[in-house]
């Protein structure tokens, strides 16, 4: 790999280019790809032939693993005070317990951040309520 300073997602050291790039959740990617696919459908009889295998597989994957169905729910999830990368991993995996959340995104528990177990649990509850009532 690039051999610059140690990159480590668990510590939120994710490299400059990724800090500047926007992170999307599966459901957001699904919206974008489906929109593009619909545009192709309007322009041609056989849209599946117009797209690459990468597009097809990606669309299939994000549709299967989308957690939130509507843009409002996604907007609510994005309001949390977390790094975008962390938000997206949590939004994609929807951990059920605090233990699971910390295992998936170790950086939310690192020293100095205002996230104790109770705060994390409240956030997970909110995330699942957002899903329930969308």
């Amino acid at each position: 790999m690039s051999g610059e300073e140690e990159e480590n997602a668990a510590e939120l050291k994710i490299g400059e280019e990724f800090l500047k790039a926007k992170c999307l959740m599966n459901c957001e990617v699904a919206l974008i790809l489906e929109h593009k696919y619909e545009q192709l459908q309007q322009m041609s009889d056989d849209p599946m032939n117009q797209v690459s295998q990468v597009f097809e597989k990606s669309l299939q994957y994000v549709k299967r693993f989308s957690r939130y169905k509507n843009p409002d729910a996604v907007r609510q999830v994005r309001e949390y005070q977390l790094a975008e990368f962390e938000l997206c991993v949590l939004g994609n995996l929807c951990p059920e317990t605090v233990e699971e959340a910390i295992a998936m995104v170790p950086s939310i528990k690192t020293k100095g951040r205002a996230h104790d177990d109770d705060a994390i649990e409240r956030m997970l509850n909110d995330l699942s309520l957002i899903k329930k009532f969308e």
Binding site: V54, S58, Q60, Y61, E100, A103
Partner: protein
Amino acid sequence: MQLHPRHFGRNLRENLVSDLMKDAEGTCSGRHGFVVAITGIENIGKGLIRDGTGFVTFPVKYQCVMGFFAEAGPVQFFVSNHLIPDDMEFQSGDMPNYTTSDGSVKIQKDSEVRLKIIGTRVDATEIFCIGTTKDDFLGVINDPTTT
């Protein structure tokens, strides 16, 4: 491994190993799973001449990498036996699978698993990753649309 006499000579061992790789890699062993890659030759025994044919048979002991392949969107993964929980064992048959000793958890074709990427290889057309299912909260997942 059987070898034709034309391969005898200085390169006997190399020919044997390359034939072994061609024959065994990519196949499925009933007991252990997919032979993905041969990683080392432990021992090549004395050759036995087969009566009537002139071929010589050598017993070869080798080590190899076993495991399963997976896909996440356009990305390909390989998870080696070493990175699958110890209590999961390979079961051969019509639907080969990895199962826990009590039969409660199974990984087979079309199963959905959560895995952690521990290494990647990127080239011009694809990304290939090595993954593990050995940590907490990894492995077979329940249907996410019902959570």
